[in-house]
Subunit: 185 residues, 2 copies
DNA sequence: AAAAAATGTCACATATTAATGACATAATAC
DNA sequence: GTATTATGTCATTAATATGTGACATTTTTT
């Protein structure tokens, strides 16, 4: 992996946990000198914008593949969960940004608006499945989406803490998520 | 509520989302002048210590009441979830601190060690219920605890976003959590 | 209404972080 | 091995954040 991507990855990871973390903290996490970081990214804002762009691209690509990879809605949802887990911290940070005030700069970018549109389309699976009584109808759409995000969070945290083996991770995540929304498989 | 508690509440809320947030940002959230904040809390560290202490106390009291309020383990677990939801952001921040490196100052305090001990005792319910095949045995203890925390997170986020009515909140949280760990009630 | 207490405004010293230039050192290519 | 390129070290300036004193304004008490 190129150094700019290494820095980007660690920037996303650090900023996800502590958005006002110093550039030095990010540099340390990426194991490069602060001066080197500034050679790849002009300033703090540039780095943050690059984080946003990268998160959006990564997530979009992964979700698109998941959505298009199967015609059966339950399988699509399952693959979307796996895709989000693969995106890991990038997806979590993105969904955190999403829930913040719209006064932010990123909320007005074309890419972000496209992201929101795609997301709404993909998560349209949920009400579809509720109409067919596959997913519990007493749960609201926003609630299920929060469950989805936080299932991913559980997975990322478990992986980081070493609580669960890589192989079991996605299976457990889907098992718990699907059961929680009333899918009996 | 006394002004010191108002400031404390908002400090916990702001720091939970952005740990390196400035004192000014906390003061703004609490709708007091920065100068006033410094009259209640000598400096940033004092404020942060007060946050930790308050989170621990709030959580401890709520969980103790939940645990002692019922003799039946499933009911105890349910009440513990409700207690954690009532603690809201305080509980989330606390569990975030918990998962950080032990190099932190707070990890060595007496209160925190007592907290860990109590927590382990209370969450001992989980393996008990697994032995009785009430909770799915293929799920590990740490995984279930992460699910617990993130169910609380889902509840807090839903409440903040106004997605779910106050009245339904705890019922939905328990419904989803209990189903996800294989409790069929 | 007068006194007392709490809060806000503003200027200011200090500390921390952001960002850059000049140069030394390490890594890589040829 | 030498030239080239990438990275690290260190000093320095600019910008923000921390924390305090002096005093004005507001709120509460009596």
């Amino acid at each position: 992996m190129n150094k700019d991507k290494v820095i980007l990855y660690h920037a996303i990871s650090v900023l996800n946990e502590d958005f006002s973390a110093s550039v030095e903290k990010i540099a340390n996490a990426a194991q490069v000198n602060k001066r080197t970081l500034y050679r790849y990214y002009k300033d703090r804002d540039t780095l943050i914008s690059a984080c946003y762009a990268n998160m959006l691209d990564t997530w979009y690509e992964a979700m698109l593949a998941a959505y298009n990879g199967d015609a059966h809605p339950i399988k699509q949802l399952e693959q979307m969960l796996y895709a989000a887990i693969d995106c890991g911290v990038k997806y979590l940070f993105l969904s955190a940004v999403e829930s913040k005030d719209g006064n932010n700069d990123i909320h007005r970018t074309e890419k972000f608006i496209a992201y929101e549109k795609a997301r709404d389309k993909w998560f349209g699976i949920i009400p579809e499945l509720q109409e067919k009584n596959v997913i519990d109808r007493q749960l609201s759409g926003p609630w299920i989406r929060l469950l989805f995000v936080n299932t991913v969070r559980t997975s990322v945290q478990a992986l980081k803490a070493g609580d669960v083996a890589q192989n079991d991770l996605k299976r457990l995540a889907w098992l718990c998520f699907s059961r929680s929304i009333g899918i009996t498989g």
